[in-house]
Subunit: 165 residues, 2 copies
């Protein structure tokens, strides 16, 4: 058994459950620390992102936000996402374009992790390991490139779908 591995399969677009090694620092605190103005709508959006057990796309985030503030606009959602991404507080994922070209978002975690997307059922399996951390360090060392964001995604078939065929 490899140390530090965090794997968890979940249903459709789910997120790791037994994920004890990964923590998600408070977005609100991070925003405050960066002296970003926290408006009512931003608080709402950030709360939804932080609390969501799933990877959200902009349309879903808007929909969820509208349940609490029907007046909130799509543009505000996109502008807030851009802000959070710019400050490095959320990660933008493509999830191998398993659902078209839209992006998915998740609060930045203390530790980078990979996403594996099942082409058949859409399940997302998350995975973190020290090997990933080592690889990143190696990349930086060997290339001299200064890494700000990393994204490791894979597409294929989850365990369940492999059996089902």
């Amino acid at each position: 058994m490899v140390m530090g591995v965090v794997v968890a399969a979940d249903s459709h677009l789910g997120r790791a459950k037994n994920d004890t090694a990964i923590t998600r620092p408070s977005l609100m605190k991070e925003l405050a620390a960066r002296r970003v103005r926290i408006t009512t709508q931003r608080r709402l959006l950030v709360g939804i992102i932080q609390g969501s057990p799933r990877h959200l796309d902009a349309a879903t985030l808007l929909e969820l936000a509208r349940k609490q503030d029907p007046g909130i606009d799509r543009a505000t959602v996109y502008r807030t996402l851009a802000l959070l991404k710019d400050r490095g507080l959320i990660d933008e994922l493509d999830l191998m374009h398993i659902e078209g070209e839209k992006h998915f978002y998740e609060a930045k975690t203390n530790r980078d992790h990979c996403h594996m997307a099942c082409f058949r059922c859409g399940a997302i399996v998350e995975y973190a390991s020290s090997s990933f951390e080592r690889l990143k360090k190696e990349m930086v060392k060997q290339s001299g490139f200064q890494i700000r964001v990393v994204r490791l995604e894979a597409g294929g078939f989850c365990q369940r779908c492999q059996k089902a065929s």
Copy 2:
């Protein structure tokens, strides 16, 4: 020095030059092996992709193709890219959306490699190492997920741009 490392910085959207460990099997042969009909236009498009030293996006590919066949249509380009992707002959990259939402393509190599995109100058640094191969194996082993495609991308600043600031 780590073994098997292939690193090369290049100018804007360039590709590794001293890339001896990485080979690109002939797309034409692969197509033939899969009994895919090879039309004039497909041959043209595939030739451009295979021969290009850069990561191409659909619009650029269309533009290059039109120099030789002005009649070729955008839809054909997209349809051919979809075909090649489906057969696993090309890889689709996002390059951290450094130039908008479009995709970039490259002929599949014998060995997976990462792409690091410079947010400042747009340079693409490619990197392959045995650590990446090990990580992939570990992911499969630990998660039971069957990987068909992997993409490891990073965004940040290349060596030159770090110095320039």
